[in-house]
Symmetry: C2
Subunit: 405 residues, 2 copies
């Protein structure tokens, strides 16, 4: 029998042992938006602005660049006239200058001419050949964006540890950063054990079942923002299990499904103990009791139960938060409240995870058995029933943990 | 001047015109978990189970396969004895059979021998050579998983339109599906216009700014589950804009930033009108008034404002829900409630989107100008102030739309 620890102890041990990845890599901003580069990368370094943004005083409206003092007497009834001396369009890099009583037509984003200190919006003017009628005074710096107003040169614009959201990618682009240092994405080795499991695509002979867990785990790994590395099924031979473990240790963390129960053929704990140490084996939860967590030369190993529902449920409960921590990303489960559609009685002394479906504010348990993948596929989320709670009444409000994050 | 419509009208027009993508593709399940294949793919067809899962009656516990009637008189004090005739391990495809008063050792997941109709858990037995002492009776079918109990052959296990969550991928694996029909991922053409913008990596000469919008839009496109296709900056020449538009029309939808304002150089609406039709140009919102939405030969075109904050804010407001609809995926904005840290007075007749930062349950406006990308990068989300609301009091509770979904 397993010496099962509590859910809270298991979570504590995982939390204490999982360390955010320290490897970093250089990513080009143009690679960043590629389809095959994960979003939500995390900065491994502070970013210092090499330029002012904008790098010049600019017009923020289409209109006429003026000396603001020249416009002070303008009213709708008594306009003032200014002489139009030039036109500036955005992207034009010529130098312009205005004199007293002069103005220059300017479009949004253009460089403000020398001596100009405001822009009159085109809506408050009327053109008459080279004379521009101004019908409204402007304030000093009105409709002007000052050099460095958005980002000042030499300041730290983004800090190590920040997640590169679309807005922050925009900051990198604005200061013309070509490449940046980000934390690497953890590579997660995944393989199944057991003579009964067969890879999808192969023929299913009598007594065999398809490997479900490697695929569901891989999906969770991707959702966590990590790279799944699929290894071959290990079967039940010690030397093959050892070989597969050695391959898995090339990755940052390894997830092995099956082989952590207590049957005669369960070699995983034996192999792990001879390579490293087992941090826990057995958690007082249902489904998913025979979950194992170990450390081999500093690499962490999750031994997930072989039953598909136990395995995937535990992947949501233990693996997802652990992998998010490895990626430096936050983890928050999406929760909703709902009412029980029928009374539920627990006859277990374990902490229960019951898969449920949401319908019109009610939850309905859809849990069949720990071996049934449809217990998971037909569910929207799960409710938890701690060991000290034995019953949920019909219509009682419960917290539903949604699977999709 | 733009003939601006209301936010609600703009959203309605987009919703009416955006159609979920109809193209489909075949995806191999082993490609599905690859790093560069997006998660959350949507089934384009019903999936029918080709096999029963499990495809045989199996043991769900380690123990002894028996005829349940043979165990009925067993008690902890008065055990019964059965003769051990064989051992079956999971994955073994030999045929076994038990006779009366016989039992077979069996591990979880193994094929139940013929004539057996229950499994006694190993914990309720004791082995003595070839005699097995049974200390507890079992019920008919106890610790047995019946053939087809999880999934019955020939039923529809997954329906067209369902999102392939980890649990549903598990179902595909369980029935040994090698490849499936899913909706294609929309390809989204992205380019910026304007002589003033320069691509990241190039040298920034006087009067120029780096292209920010193409990168922030690309991040939103990826977050929506679509493929960004980056095109070259179009500059301000009509023939280049036309060429770029022709390239963009090879994709499923096009996002163009800049060039939709009303300055002399704003050619986008002109070019779009000569190619197709403009569905709206100008929305009564701030920032982001000069947003444009058009249709060229059935391909939809978003013309986003050139100002980085206006552009990215509109990408969250209009683009993200539209692209999610194209991908057949649901869209829900993550909302939290918080209190205003200071009084806010609107002097605008437009619907305002104010970027805010969350701190200890309070929100603080961080909006600088529509040209400042830092208005977005330093914000956690935004609050909305409809046209008929002119003030938010200090400590008033507001709904905050979080940027991260």
């Amino acid at each position: 029998m397993l010496n099962a620890i509590s859910l809270e102890e298991a979570q504590k041990i995982i939390k204490e042992n999982i360390v955010p990845i320290q490897k970093t890599e250089i990513l080009k901003i143009k690679d960043f938006v590629k389809f095959n580069v994960l979003t939500d990368r995390v900065l491994a370094t502070d970013v210092i602005a090499g330029i002012d943004v904008p790098s010049f005083d600019k017009a923020t409206m289409d209109g006429y660049a003026v000396k603001f003092e020249d416009t002070q007497k303008a009213t709708p009834e008594n306009h003032i006239n200014l002489n139009l001396s030039a036109s500036i369009f955005a992207g034009n890099n010529e130098k312009f200058k205005i004199k007293n009583r002069e103005c220059i037509y300017i479009t949004t984003g253009s460089v403000l001419p020398d001596n100009a200190d405001a822009v009159v919006m085109v809506e408050h003017t009327k053109r008459d050949g080279d004379k521009i009628k101004i019908f409204k005074p402007v304030r000093l710096l009105e409709n002007i964006g000052k050099k460095g107003e958005d980002i000042k040169k030499n300041i730290v614009v983004l800090k190590k540890g920040e997640i590169l959201t679309p807005g922050k990618i925009g900051v990198l682009a604005a200061i013309g950063i070509k490449e940046i240092d980000v934390y690497s994405i953890p590579r997660v080795a995944i393989f199944g054990t057991g003579n009964e499991i067969v890879n999808v695509g192969k023929n299913l002979t009598h007594g065999k079942i398809y490997d479900v867990n490697s695929w569901t785990i891989a999906c969770i790994v991707k959702k966590a923002g990590c790279i799944p590395v699929m290894l071959k099924i290990a079967g039940d031979k010690e030397e093959i299990l050892q070989k597969r473990l050695d391959e898995a240790l090339q990755c940052d963390v390894a997830i092995i499904s099956g082989g952590s129960s207590v049957g005669e053929k369960d070699l995983l704990s034996k192999v792990l103990e001879s390579n490293g140490k087992i941090l826990f084996h057995g958690v007082n939860i249902k489904p998913g009791k025979p979950t194992l967590f170990g450390d081999v030369n500093g690499k962490l190993i999750f031994g997930m139960p072989g039953n598909p529902t136990s395995c995937l449920m535990n992947a949501y409960v233990f693996l997802l938060p652990a992998l998010r921590k490895m990626t430096h990303l936050p983890f928050e489960r999406k929760m909703v409240k709902a009412k029980m559609s029928e009374k539920f009685v627990s006859n277990s002394d374990r902490h229960l995870f019951i898969t449920v479906k949401l319908e019109n504010g009610y939850v309905k348990a859809v849990y069949k058995t720990s071996g049934a993948i449809t217990s998971m596929s037909s569910a929207d989320g799960f409710i938890e029933i701690p060991t000290d709670k034995k019953m949920i009444e019909k219509d009682e409000e419960v917290d539903v943990n949604l699977f999709e994050i």
